[in-house]
Structures are given as C-alpha cells and as structure tokens.
C-alpha cells in the first residue's frame, strides 16, 4: 500500500470521487479490522484478564491488571524460554542465511542440471511441517535413528548422541531442523536479488582485477544489501513464532531445554487452559516481533528511496 500512497494525487475529483475511493478501500480495511485488528485487541485485553474455562460458560473474565504478566515473567521457566527463543532465532537465522546465500551465489552459475537442483532445493518448503517434524524425529532418534546409524557406519565414533533426549543437544537439533526448513526461503529470495545485479558490473570488476571473493565483497554484497535486510528481518519475525516444528520434535523438552515463548504460550493456553497467562506470554512475543516489524518497515522504506 505504500507505493500507492506515494503516487501524486490527481486533483480532478471532488467529494464523490473521494467516496468512490473510500469504497474501494473499505473491503480491505474491514477485512484487516475483522481478522487482524480484532484478534490483536482481544489478545491484548485477555492478557489483563483471568480468562479460564469458566469464562467460556459464564462470559465473565475478571480484570486482574498485571497479575498475568507478573506470574508469567516470575515463573522459573520464563528466563529459560526467553533465552531459548533468542538462541533459537539467532541460530536458525545464522544457519539459514549463510547456507541460503551460499546456495544462491552458487546457482548464479549456469551448469547442466542447475534448474533441477534449484527446484529440489524448494523441497523442505513443500512438505507440511507436521510431516517434516515426524520424519526428523525418526532421523534423530537415539537408538534407531538414521543419523546415529550413519555416524556408527563411519566408524569414527561409537557414541549415540541423544539428539532429542539430551538437554545440551536438543536445542541445537531443533535449530538444525529449522535451518533445513528455512534454507529455501533464504536461497530463493536472495537468488532473486542476485538476478537484479547486471552482469556488466562483474565484467567491469573483472577488468579491474576483482574476481572471486573480491567480486562478491565489492560488487555482490553492496548491491544485495537491501534484499539481505528484508530477508533477515522477515526471517527473524517468522522464526520467533515457530511452534509446530518444536512441538513435533520435542514438545519443548527434554526438561524444558527447547521451551520457547511460543511453546510456552501454547502450553499455558491450550494445555493448562489458562488463557490469560497464555495471552500475556503471546503479547510479549508480539512485542518482540513488533520491534523487528518496525525495523522491517524502515528498511523497506529506505530501500524504495535508495
């Protein structure tokens, strides 16, 4: 909607035309209000209420002020969930972005079979997350998982790491699976960004002696920056709220080793039916996401101007 707003306004119409324009906007505005505005406001309000199973029958949700936030932030799990959320997000983004960028640069070259390989890359994106979770759970199983069987076959180690059962490895394992899921998104968007960089620039750089790493450093990276910003910020917002893959793999365990704000909010609302506390946790998560969303908007504005 931003570019539309920018367009210089033609001063040909009066009130009627204004109304006409408003009517065109109305469906979108109504849709946004009903499906984004209402849930958001409802969730914010719920965070200040004692909202339990009782509320559904009686319709009463007593106002409790900040009590939910105090409970949620005061619980011993909160610190852990917050740290896990940050580690999970940072680890996932780092892995997804680096591998995604490497693959995108790799696929700039044309070679036989490049198209097929590039479409294969999209596979993790095409598989439902529930399925990915179940399959990865098998692969990572300690006793009979494919990964540990392969490790044994290499004869390098006799150990069978408990990818999902050890408190030290579980978070790393979950991050690893999430990286696998996130690579297609990063690679595809970055690949698109690379296509926009004219070949002449590389030719000119080559004449000046900049090839390989130097070409990447002084041609590719600066011109790709706006796309990189968008990919990173969107990636962070998507990753902060990841729920399905963690539930599928570890359900936040073992011993809360992979508990994040998202899984915690789910647990409070839909397992313990304390919707007030669940909403409070969700709101904290929204707050963190919001910071990144604002960052995204600013960056995309810069990009348009730049």
């Amino acid at each position: 909607m931003l570019p539309l707003a920018r367009r210089p306004r033609r001063r040909t119409g009066g009130r009627v035309q204004h109304l006409g324009r408003a009517l065109f906007v109305a469906p979108a505005a109504l849709y946004m209000l009903a499906f984004y505005g209402y849930p958001l406001v409802k969730n914010l309000v719920m965070g200040f209420q004692e909202y339990t199973t009782r509320t559904f029958f009686t319709g009463e949700a007593p106002w409790v002020g900040l009590a939910n936030y105090e409970q949620v932030m005061g619980s011993p799990i909160f610190g852990r969930s917050l740290v896990n959320t940050l580690l999970f997000t940072a680890g996932s983004i780092l892995g997804q972005f680096t591998i995604g960028l490497a693959l995108a640069v790799f696929f700039r070259r044309t070679f036989p079979g490049a198209g097929v390989l590039r479409s294969l890359l999209l596979m993790p994106w095409l598989i439902p997350l529930i399925v990915s979770g179940a399959v990865w759970k098998w692969i990572l199983d300690q006793d009979n998982g494919a990964l540990n069987r392969m490790l044994r076959a290499t004869q390098l180690t006799d150990a069978r790491p408990g990818w999902l059962t050890s408190t030290t490895l579980a978070l790393a394992a979950v991050v690893m699976v999430n990286i696998w899921i996130g690579i297609p998104f990063n690679a595809t968007i970055l690949f698109g960004g690379l296509q926009d960089i004219p070949d002449e620039l590389y030719e000119a750089a080559a004449l000046d002696g900049a090839t390989g790493w130097r070409a990447f450093r002084y041609v590719t990276w600066p011109l790709l920056r706006p796309v990189v910003n968008v990919v990173l910020v969107l990636g962070v917002v998507y990753t902060l709220k990841v729920l399905d893959i963690i539930l599928g793999l570890t359900k936040g365990g073992p011993a809360n080793a992979t508990q994040t704000l998202a899984t915690q909010a789910y647990q409070l609302s839909f397992v313990e039916f304390d919707f007030g506390q669940g909403a409070a946790t969700g709101n904290l998560l929204i707050l963190v996401s919001l910071l990144f969303a604002v960052l995204y908007l600013r960056l995309s504005r810069q990009r348009e101007q730049g």
Binding site: T53, F56, L164, G253, A257
Partner: protein, 446 residues
C-alpha cells in the same frame, strides 16, 4: 414414537445442529415415516441458518423456549457429543447410545470428535450456548468443566454412584456433588512378553528390586528390558503415577522422599541401560511400538493397546499390576476412562431425558458389554467377578483397577498444574542429572 407426525418433524429439524449433522450418519435408524420430507425441511432450515449463524440463533436446541412446562413428551431427540471417533469404539458407542435412545424413546444425534479436539469444542459450545444434551468427558477434565458451571449435578435427576469404584466416583464429583457417571474404566499395568521372559528364565517382577533385576537381565543387543513413557506431557505424568502412588507419594506436595524414590527408580532404569534414554520422548503409542517390535521385553501400558498387540502374529503377552516398592505393598494405579455428563442447557425436559441416557449407559448390562467390547473394566465393583470370569485376559487390569485412584480426587481443577510439575521434575531428573528430590523441590516451587 407415538406422537403426532407433524410436531416431531418440525422439532427435530429445528434442533438439528447445522451443517455437520447432514452427513446422514444418524439418519440410519430414524423411525420417521417420511424421511425425505424431513430431510428437505432440514436443508431449508440449514440454509436459513447460514446467515444468522454468527448470532448463534440457529446454533442448537439449548436456547429454545423451554419445553419444560409441557412435559417430557416434547423431547424427541438428544444431541450427544463424545470423542470415540476411531473404530472399533465409534461403532460400539454409537450402537450402545442408540439402543439407550430407543429404550427412552428419543432419537440420538451423536457427534464424535478426535480426542484432542473435545475440550476446545466444549469450550466453544459453552460460550455459544450450544452444549449437547449428553456430553462425554475424559475423567480428569470433569472437575474443571464442572467448575466452569457448564454441567448439571446428576443428583438433580436422582442419579447416584452407589456401588461404584471409589476413585471413579471421586473423579466425577466436584464440591460434593456428582456430575458424571462412568460406565467403564481402565488403567495401566505391566505388560510383558511371555516368550522373552521364559527364554531368559526371568520370572514376572512384582517389586521394584525384581523389576530392576529383571529389566537388566532382559536387556540384550538392541532389546531393552523395559519401556515406559516419560514424555513431557500429561501422558508421562500418568505413567509415573503408579510408581509415585504405590510408594506413598502425593500430588499435593511432590517434593517428598517417597516421590523422589519412585523417580530414582526410573532414573536408575535408564542409567543402567535397562530402558532407553529415548523414554523422555516416547508417547505410550511409541512405547507400544517398541514392545510390539520386540525391542522391549516389558512395558507399562494400557489395555487399549490390546487390538494392536493382538494383530502381531506370534506375540504372546500377559499383564500384571505395576510392581510395588516392597513385597506386600499395594499397587496404586491411576484410573482412566470417560464419564458421561448432562450439560446445563437450560431445558429441564431435555436434561431429564439426557440423564436417563446417562443412567442407561451405566446399566449393569451396558457396563459389562462396553467393558468387553472396549477392553476396559466395569466400574460397579459387584460386576468384577463376573467380568473376569468371562474375560480372563482382563484379569491383570481388573486387579489393578480395584485399588486405583483418580488423578483429580485430591486436587480437582488444580490437577493440570500439578501434572505439569510432575513431568517437569521427571524430565530434569532423567535428562540433566538433577537429583530427584531437588528436581521435585524446584518443580514444586515453580
């Protein structure tokens, strides 16, 4: 169905729930003389309902003007909601409920949803005032739903739970009033592979020491001695309860030596390799898969696994109660199973009819029939002797049920919080090497 034809038509069409009910599943046994006409009326009404659906004007029979004054004769159909969505339970329950409907003279409109969707559905119906006339609940959920005010005390309809297993009654009672009647129950016990034990010369363990020794001896190659579920969900808590309770542990304060000793047993079984480290990620279905595949010689599990186990050719298994801390002690297992309730729909006549359905589902004959068909145990203790005589395979579970406890008997609606604490402590003791007592203390404080 001796009432004039016109009235029931109108009424049943109006009371039919909107689109889902038109799948025809309960058209089967209709005794209406003109089914086609009835369907058409319903279609028209369903269409008319589509628009004001948001206003819940056509949501169901609950907000209908009460037919109470005109007497129970006006009730011609009842809505039933349960989570027996899978076969064979689905058919068994459908037939039993329908037979009860016929006996009382009402048509049954039953809906079955998947187990994990039931509470969400009930909460939705609670807020839109479209609760069914007869509602099945998993027994540990009853007190929480009763606390919300959505259920009618069964005492109002003259129903009593005399002669029922005490734990079952506790689970269905909230603040001194009975809200549900549970025809059958189940629990968990030790299921063992007879061939593997015989081959290894191991006798069936009855105490914790014997369990540890047997598990160790049965562990060979990629086969573990014992399997159980220590997952970080209520399932893990449920599996731990027989160990905790048999040793005198209590859910109101888990930071006790008794509970710590029980936890130590699980920690030791995993530590010396008699049980897989993966138990912390296994659900009960996963545990059953391990046992079924011969990768575990014994397992803690419930009778609902029998159909799967029986489908494996050459698998000989038997059941004994979960081993106790020391010889001579009593095994105390948790009670499972579902209880039938009458929601507060505001229509006294329909509620009275619904209570009759609940009573019928709990008749001696139905308890025995449901227990046999669904691999469960009757809740009326006087029936147990007859039941075991007819179903010798259920003896281990029937023995376990007699001394079993309900999860919500002590804490009521606060049970979910305690259950979360129990599996949290369990997981930190089993995976991060935390001493059981201190893990329990931390969880209790959290």
């Amino acid at each position: 169905m001796t009432a004039p034809a016109a009235a029931p038509h109108r009424r049943s069409a109006r009371l039919a729930p909107p689109p889902p009910s038109s799948d025809g599943t309960h058209e089967r046994n209709t005794q209406m003389p003109t089914p086609r006409k009835r369907v058409r009326v319903r279609q028209v009404l369903a269409g008319a309902c589509a628009v004001p659906l948001v206003l819940s004007a056509c949501g169901g029979g609950s907000d209908a003007p009460s037919g109470g004054s005109s007497g129970a004769a006006a009730v011609t159909s009842l809505r039933v909601l349960d989570y027996y969505a899978n076969e064979p339970d689905n058919t068994v329950v459908q037939q039993t409920v329908e037979a009860c409907g016929t006996q009382i003279g009402v048509k049954i409109e039953r809906e079955a949803v998947p187990g994990d969707k039931l509470i969400a559905k009930v909460l939705q119906q609670s807020s839109s005032k479209t609760l069914p006339d007869v509602l099945m609940l998993d027994n540990p959920d009853l007190q929480q739903i009763a606390a919300s005010g959505a259920l009618a005390p069964l005492d109002d309809f003259g129903l009593k739970a005399d002669g029922y297993q005490q734990g079952v009654v506790d689970a269905s009672t909230y603040e001194g009033k009975l809200y549900g009647l549970q025809p059958v129950t189940n629990t968990i016990a030790l299921i063992y592979n007879k061939d593997i034990l015989a081959e290894a010369g191991v006798s069936v363990p009855t105490t914790w020491d014997e369990l540890e020794a047997a598990s160790k001896k049965l562990t060979k190659g990629d086969r573990y001695g014992v399997a159980f579920s220590a997952i970080n969900t209520f399932e893990g808590t449920w599996q731990f309860l027989p160990f905790m309770w048999s040793n005198g542990g209590e859910e109101k304060d888990i930071a006790t030596q008794q509970t710590a000793d029980a936890l130590q047993l699980w920690v030791d079984l995993v530590k010396d390799g008699s049980a897989s480290k993966s138990v912390v990620t296994w659900s009960q279905a996963d545990v059953n898969d391990q046992f079924k595949a011969g990768k575990a010689a014994m397992m803690v599990n419930g009778p609902w696994q029998f159909p799967v186990l029986d489908s494996v050719a050459g698998l000989n298994y038997d059941v004994v109660p979960v081993p106790v801390p020391k010889a001579g002690m009593t095994s105390v297992a948790p009670l499972g199973g579902e209880t039938w309730t009458v929601p507060q729909t505001g229509d006294k006549a329909r509620q009275a009819a619904a209570a009759k359905v609940v009573a019928c589902l709990n008749s001696d004959a139905n308890q025995l029939a449901l227990a046999k068909a669904r691999q469960t145990v009757p809740t009326r203790t006087s029936l147990l002797g007859e039941f075991v005589a007819q179903n010798p395979k259920m003896k281990g579970f029937t023995d376990a049920v007699q001394t079993a406890r309900s999860r919500t008997g002590q804490l009521g609606p606060d049970w979910p919080k305690a259950a979360t604490k129990i599996y949290t402590a369990m997981q930190s003791a089993m995976t991060s090497g935390e001493a059981p007592l201190s893990a329990l203390q931390q969880a209790q404080a959290g």
